[in-house]
Amino acid sequence: MTARAPAKWGLRTLAFGYLGLLLLAPVGLIFWKTFEHGLGPPIDAMTSPDALHAIWLTLLMVAVAVPLNTVFGVGCALLLVRYKWKGNAVIDGIINLPFAISPIVIGLSLFLLYGNAGWFGPTLSEWGIKVLFSTPGMILASIFVSLPFVVREVVPVLQEIGTEQEQAASTLGANAWQTFWRITLPAIRWGVAYGVVLTTARVLGEFGAVTIVSGLISGQTETLPLFVAKSFEQFNEQAAYAGAIVLALLALTTLLLMSVGGRKAKASGPIPIAGDTTISMSNAKEGS
């Protein structure tokens, strides 16, 4: 159906009007508010000791949670796709759980395990380990909320590439590790990269779960999203806006990487290009 002109313009108005009011105007306004008085104030706000500490702590969350969930994700996806097992369906269900749970409930769950009256809290504090209201608890929350991304991105890629090339490699004498490094990993690299981008973005921006386990101690247990909320509640709007802009720019970068990564993944196709494989295979032989 080719919409007639009035219908077409009516639909356009509705679509753009809604997007404008809900999306563009608020996001545009916050950029304008931040840079209203030039670059100076936001830079000052982001270089205060509390802000710098928040940035550092946020990066620490990423540095721990992302590698752990990536290694777990790739290994788990391999086991789920390549090795039939009765428990696979259960594992698959559990992996998707974090996406079904409100972040606040995730925070509560960690509070119940590691709090003073929790399952592990008393024992751990006897050993002098503090999990709740300190960095380890926040890392656990970050791992929990971002756990499914890599598995979910890698599983469909593994299903699509099939096992022919892996079998060819092992027929030619490559051992399991060589096959993984030279054949499987190059074939799933875009899926892994995609998963890593999404995991990183989630850890950077996580608020609900971290807020419960952090205890909100300024300069100690404050990530960037918590810093934004606290600054706003203390009427330090400049700092709140500046922190929000940093997070928004990171989100826009994620969007960009998502669309580039999507195109790359499509371009490399379901089956890795023949040339790629030949190179990998000859390398595999040289290496052995």
Partner: protein, 299 residues
């Protein structure tokens, strides 16, 4: 495998090579341990705590006046938001697929912004435009309208992204045939286009509803969190934790968790049911949405 050319012979099942050098059993053990420590034990603690006072206490906590008011507010605002976004989301999908205009690629990429933006930033952003310092004088902060606006923002992409691929794959011959037989634009939409898009609209709506039910970060600044007035369930859970009523917080958490699990099961049934008409399209769209919608935060 789906979409594989038939020329490549498929491996006999069970002939998969042993990929990692370490034993498969060991790998499984590590995965089960990791999932237990990170996911299952914490959730078991919530379930255990919610039942710590027996089933009666659980029921009292969930049906308490403040808890009930929060739950009612959460469900009703989520339903309103889903209806609004079903309408606008379908129109946006239509404009993005069937219309041509400069900058379409950019608009298409921007649709995912609410998914990528950390929820606290989303809340702050909306408060700037619709709060006490609104440049348009539109101060709705600390009202129920603010909750609806915030939830509209965070769930905006769900229905558009579920409908878009269905619309792209739709056979236009049916529409042309109907038009040539004398059907007007609205009749063609009602009889041909809408039934084809319905599975996408429903799947997107269910996912958006699940997200709205558990939303926290984007509401905390703008809703005001006034008990009985603008306190949604997730905020109620937090206030109960802070006031020491952990068992009550856990009981409401278990209810939220149960509802979102039911919604996810409904989505997967819907995807399976629609697979007979459009193999794989909706399933891929839903899988993509589930991952993307989690990037900025939220259930």
């Amino acid at each position: 495998m789906e979409g594989h050319p038939a020329t490549i012979p498929t491996a006999p099942s069970g002939a998969g090579i042993r990929l990692p050098g370490v034993g498969v059993g060991l790998g499984r053990g590590v995965i089960v341990l990791y999932l237990s420590l990170i996911v299952m034990l914490p959730l078991a603690a919530v379930l255990d705590e919610s039942l710590s006072g027996g089933i009666g206490a659980f029921w009292d906590a969930v049906t308490g006046a403040e808890s009930m008011a929060a739950l009612k507010l959460t469900v009703i605002s989520s339903l309103i938001v889903v209806a609004i976004n079903a309408f606008f989301g379908t129109i946006i999908a239509w404009v993005l697929v069937r219309d041509e205009f400069p900058g379409k690629g950019a608009v298409n990429a921007l649709i995912d912004l609410p998914f990528a933006l950390p929820t606290i930033v989303a809340g702050l952003t909306l408060l700037t435009l619709y709060g006490s310092e609104s440049p348009f004088g539109l101060d709705i902060a600390f009202t129920r309208a603010a909750i609806v606006v915030a939830l509209c923002f965070v769930t905006l992409p769900f229905i558009t992204r579920a409908v878009q691929p269905l619309l792209m794959e739709m056979d236009r011959e049916m529409e042309e045939a109907a038009t040539s037989l004398g059907a007007g634009g609205f009749t063609v939409f009602r009889r041909i286009i809408f039934p084809n898009l319905l599975p996408g609209i429903l799947a997107g709506a269910l996912l958006a509803f699940a997200r709205a039910l558990g939303e926290y970060g984007s509401l905390i600044l703008i809703s005001g969190n006034i008990p009985f007035k603008t306190e949604v369930s997730s905020v109620f859970i937090r206030s109960q934790i802070e006031s020491g009523n952990v068992a009550g917080a856990s009981a409401v958490s278990v209810v939220l968790l149960a509802i979102s699990l039911l919604l996810l099961i409904a989505v997967s049934l819907l995807v399976r049911w629609s697979a007979s008409n459009q193999p794989g399209i909706l399933s891929r769209a839903v899988n993509r949405i589930i991952s993307r919608s989690q990037v900025g935060g939220g259930p």
